[in-house]
Amino acid sequence: MIVSTQKPLEQIMTALEGGKRVFIIGCAKCATVCKAGGEEEVFRMQDALTAAGKEVTGTIVIDETCHMLRTGRDLRSRREQVDEADFLLVLSCGAGIQSVAEASEKKVVAGTDSKFLGNIRRFGQFEQRCSLCGDCRLNDSGGVCPVTVCAKGLLNGPCGGMEDGACEVDQNSRCAWVTIYERLERQQRVERLDEITPARDFAHKRHPNSLVLEK
């Protein structure tokens, strides 16, 4: 899922300057799970904006705001409330915010910061394990991603900053390369690491990216 966090209210208020009426949009998927823009957060935002002197013309929680056609359709179903608003405040990931911008000529305000593609450890705990590099090498690294889990994305082993198995950047994180090495050792295939891994092909990371499936 996409992990996002809500921007501080004062930042949102600054972005809403120059208009009184706001239509609030949440997302029923990722933003709900990470509590940045589900029903509850949209409701709280409505209260906060009302308390700050804004007029909320309506709210909606779209099922997958990243779905562009659905977002367009759902906004059309609330055309009156949307048309009345000076701003559309969106509490979803950056993809969802841009679905809204694509569907409406209204001024769109982002109420969240999108952080990472996250695994869910348990309720309210998210960890980045994949950075969508476009060229998966988990088959060579024991199922642990050096591109993401190593703070430097190193492909050929740990840097000199590893200390007692911990990462130079965060002492509370285990060095990805220690994890990879120990895991492959337990599986008796540590020799997989003997070969030098060539440099990454960053062409896979060119953006904006797109994919159209063959029919």
Binding site: A151, K152, G153, L154, L155, N156, G157, P158, C159, G160, G161, M162, E163, D164, G165, E168, V169, C175, W177, V178, I180, Y181, E182, E185, V190, L193, D194, I196, P198, A199, R200, F202
Partner: protein, 291 residues
């Protein structure tokens, strides 16, 4: 003039290197003075690359200035701040400046330095960087395009942290660096001889030159700080106590460093002194160590 470092490595003679940092500013007079002071006592001088991820003048220019002064630099080159185009450009430029030695490193993460909001590049890693240098020497860049004119030639070194725990992944990477073409290794500072011996016994199978790192202790506080904050450094309590109890910290620092060097000398092929500002003590340390 052929590189003194290359000559000594080839003759299997004991190597002595030291280290200076380019200035945080455009004036290189202080750096050149420090280099000129150290030069008569050492074979080559490392020139650091934004060390600790703290912004300074580029080691390319600083090393080039040393060459102009007749001082042999080991240009450090990290993967933190430059993508593959910039790294290759700098390597070719180094050849043009007459820089003969390059130390290839990963580089500390920007989070540890004075520009924590900088983009961490790490387009390639230190193993790949060594390969790139070797490939350029063969006349090919990373894209496979041919270089023009006289080809560059370098003595390429790498680093290893012998106090790394666990050690095996570090040795795995060291092996890759040798496969890639590293000719010598400078190590993180060594204080714990037992742990260094353990490292040497686990790397006996590797045919390379190990140059042991020596950081001059300045105080008990500094030693404790390094123990807590610098990966792979472990200053034993007896050395910390010696620094705490002494009235003359510089004399004690010299005594400890010289003792370490004497003990390390039979075990490795060279020492790399990082004086951390106490440059003027380096000749005294070497003298006391009988070098």
């Amino acid at each position: 003039m052929p590189s003194q470092l290359v000559r000594k490595l080839a003759a299997n003679e004991f190597v002595i290197t030291a280290e200076i940092a380019p200035p945080r500013g455009g004036d290189t007079s202080g750096m050149l003075k420090a280099a000129a002071f150290l030069a008569p006592f050492v074979d080559a001088i490392n020139v650091t690359d934004n060390q600790g991820a703290n912004m300074r003048m580029t080691p390319l220019v600083a090393s080039g200035l040393l060459v102009r002064e007749g001082i042999e630099p080991i240009m450090q080159l990290t993967c933190r701040d430059r993508n593959r185009l910039a790294l290759q450009s700098d390597i070719l430029s180094a050849a043009n400046f007459g820089i003969e030695n390059i130390l290839a490193l990963t580089g500390d993460h920007p989070k540890l330095g004075d520009h924590p909001h900088a983009k961490a590049v790490f387009d390639i890693d230190s193993v790949q960087l060594i390969q790139v240098i070797r490939r350029l020497e063969q006349g090919l860049d990373m894209a496979g395009k041919k270089l023009e004119g006289v080809l560059p030639k370098f003595c390429v070194g790498a680093v290893v942290n012998p106090g790394s725990d666990p050690l095996e992944p570090q040795i795995m990477k060291m092996e890759k660096k040798i496969d890639a073409g590293a000719e010598f290794f400078q190590t993180q500072a060594v204080y714990d001889l037992k742990s260094f011996e353990n490292f040497l016994s686990k790397t006996k199978h590797l045919k390379t030159t190990v140059i042991a790192g020596i950081v001059l202790l300045k105080s008990a506080g500094m030693a404790k700080y390094m123990n807590e904050n610098v990966a792979g450094i472990s200053v034993p309590d007896n050395l910390i106590n010696e620094m705490r109890d002494t009235k003359d910290k510089q004399a004690q620092s010299i005594e400890i460093a010289a003792r370490l060097i004497k003990e390390l000398k039979p075990m490795c092929q060279g020492i790399h002194i990082m004086p951390i500002g106490w440059d003027k003590l380096v000749p005294k340390v070497l003298d006391a160590a009988g070098l």
